[in-house]
């Protein structure tokens, strides 16, 4: 049985980050896009905590992770409100179709 080490966490976080970007780029539904952003933030969170634990850097890492969670929640709240407003104006939440401002 292999010991779970720093590298494993980093690989997981890298995959999460990539999945997040992938989600943001490919999903049509605005809510799904926002979830992609959450994934990116959480990928960073995993990094922070993993570095804090394995690098013996004190509690800074965990602290940042807590802040990030709070901010992510705030961002999600605002983003959902905006999506709601978009739905009122466009009658759709398909990110692709919201492209009146261009060129």
């Amino acid at each position: 049985m292999m010991e779970v080490g720093l590298q494993h966490f980093l690989v997981v976080s890298a995959i999460l980050f990539s999945l997040g970007i992938f989600g943001v780029v490919t999903r049509k539904n605005a809510v799904m896009v926002l979830m992609g952003i959450e994934l990116i933030l959480n990928a960073a969170n995993i990094n922070f905590i993993a570095f804090a634990k394995y690098g013996n850097f004190g509690f800074d890492g965990q602290l940042i992770a807590l802040f990030v969670i709070v901010l992510a929640a705030a961002e999600a709240a605002i983003a959902l409100a905006i999506v709601l407003n978009i739905y009122k104006n466009f009658a759709t939440v398909n990110v692709d179709e919201i492209n009146k401002l261009k060129e």
Binding site: S13, F17, G20, I21, V24, A30, V33, L34, I37, I40, L41, A43, A44, N45, N47, F48, A50, F51, G55, F57, D60, G61, L63, I64, F67, V68, L71, A74, E75, I78, A79, A81, I82, V83, N85, I86, K88, N89, F90, V95, I98, N99, K100, L101, K102
Partner: protein
């Protein structure tokens, strides 16, 4: 009292401006909640800003850390350099709040103005923190604070589909950019084991060549900063958001949040990557990341793409959005010199940029109030219908181009001299060529104002006295500072004290 607690109370004295902003934020919120009288809100806000301005001026000379940890470095660096940019942010906030009183565009949302001013104060707080932050945690929180407030402000006209679209694009793009930045920060934390920029500096001294991980992290972190200052290729949100957002917010984003982003960048470079300064004020860099090469490329891209994209725009707000991207390019060029002299260029440029860009946006607001359009073809013949507006717009545009005797010329001159002095001639020449390109689209506006015949019969448009006065207050300094700018330079030179090396 224990030592850390003593530090904490000492630090409270250092963050008086921030405290004042928080206080007034709460005050506005409560006032709005209890009294529901929109009329006095802007004046309370203005009062708050003036009080804060005095607090900043009062602590202008301070040069120390707030919220020190045991390692003698703190979360925030309170220094004249930061105070300088806080003053710039406050001035632009004051002007933007005056804009908001004038703007008819916001009339549909007058019953929600309490939120509007609260959010602006939220942005100011965030920008103050960005200006002073010397710790990655605080940097991230500050950037997010500014972003979250501005996402809402960009979509403040709820029933306007363009405004909502702008806010959606803004939040998606902003969320991704700051997410990338956070990811970069997490890796940087892993490399150095600290979140404080100054502590990092001593740890990075070990690097004697470029490091692939540092390159990765720095470019990722720059994604967040570049998005704030709309540097190419992190600028894609800028034109769309600037066009869709209310003009007042566009003006605000183009000056204040850009200023905060620039300070963040300078502080990151200066406190983390500079090992020492030579006698002429040039910085010796830690070779972990080639900041100069990076900034040169970004700055050339930014100014060139900004200017060329502006060429064919038919919406004046959008054109000014691209022009503000180009100006970010000039400022980045000055930072790329990596010397105190370049910083002089940046700071002089910012004071002048504040005047000329906000002036141009004021004109856009005034014209929008009168003819309810931002389209260039609707501007035909306006120079004769509103003579003062025409003349003032001419001054602002000439200043933005950087032709003497306007202040814009002085701004460009100092950047240019810094470049020439550092023997970065190619960048200097590219900057000149870009100015020539920019002349084309700025003059295009003037052509519409004066040479094109309006399509329909028109009458003269009268402006109120206070509006005329406001226009003059922004236009006249553009000429005066073009001729007599010694005070600006004095102010800049005394402010050129950055905590650290």
């Amino acid at each position: 009292m224990s030592q850390p607690l003593a530090y904490f109370f000492d630090s409270l004295y250092l963050i008086k401006p921030e405290t004042s902003i928080i206080g007034f934020l709460v005050l506005i919120l409560l006032y709005d909640l209890i009294f529901k009288k929109e009329k006095w809100l802007p004046y309370i806000s203005l009062f708050g800003l003036v009080v804060t301005l005095f607090l900043i001026i009062e602590q202008y000379g301070y040069n120390k850390f707030a919220f020190q940890s045991s390692t003698n470095f703190g979360m925030m660096a309170i220094d004249p350099f930061g105070a300088f940019f806080k003053i710039i942010i406050l001035l632009s906030s004051i002007i933007v709040i005056l804009f908001s009183i004038l703007s008819k565009e916001l009339d549909v949302a007058r019953d929600r103005m309490g939120e509007y001013y609260t959010l602006i104060f939220g942005m100011i707080l965030g920008m103050f923190l960005m200006v002073s932050a010397s710790d990655l945690i605080l940097i991230y929180i500050a950037v997010e604070l500014v972003s979250l407030s501005s996402f809402v402000l960009a979509g403040f006209l709820k029933n306007d589909s363009r405004s909502s679209e702008a806010s959606l694009k803004y939040i998606i793009f902003g969320g991704v950019s700051s997410g990338i930045m956070l990811f970069g920060i997490s890796i940087l934390y892993g490399i150095t084991g600290t979140t404080n920029l100054y502590e990092m500096n001593s740890l990075l001294q070990n690097f004697d060549s470029t490091n692939i991980l540092m390159i990765l992290t720095m470019i990722l972190i720059f994604a967040g900063i570049g998005y704030k200052i709309s540097a190419v290729p992190f600028h894609f949100w800028t034109p769309d958001v600037y066009e869709g957002a209310p003009v007042t917010i566009t003006a605000y984003l183009s000056v204040a949040s850009k200023a905060a982003g620039i300070v963040l960048l300078i502080r990151l470079i200066k406190s983390t990557f500079v090992s020492q300064k030579d006698t002429f004020g040039y910085w010796e860099m830690i070779p972990a990341f080639d900041w100069q090469g990076f900034l040169i490329i970004i700055s050339i891209l930014t100014m060139t793409i900004g200017n060329f994209s502006a060429l064919w725009q038919s919406n004046v707000k959008r054109m000014l959005a691209y022009s503000s991207i180009a100006h970010a390019g000039y400022i980045l060029a000055a930072i790329a010199v990596l010397s105190d002299q370049g910083l002089v260029g940046v700071m002089v440029y910012f004071i002048i940029y504040l005047l000329m860009n906000l002036g141009a946006f004021l004109i856009v607001i005034v014209i929008k109030n009168k003819i309810n359009s931002e389209e260039l073809e609707d501007y035909d013949g306006l120079g004769y219908r509103m003579p003062l507006v025409g003349v003032a717009f001419t001054i602002f545009l000439i200043s933005l181009t950087g032709i003497p005797p306007t202040a814009g010329f002085i701004g460009k001159l100092y950047v240019f001299i810094a470049l020439v002095d550092a023997k970065m001639l190619v960048l200097a020449v590219i900057m000149l060529l870009n100015s020539v390109v920019s002349l084309y689209y700025y003059v295009r506006i003037l052509k519409h104002l004066y040479l094109n015949k309006p399509k329909a019969e028109t009458t003269d448009i009268e402006l109120s006295f206070s509006l005329k006065l406001f226009i003059l207050v922004l236009a006249v300094p553009n000429i005066i500072f073009g001729l007599y700018f010694a005070p600006i330079l004095e102010f800049v030179k005394t402010s050129l004290i950055i905590l650290g090396i």
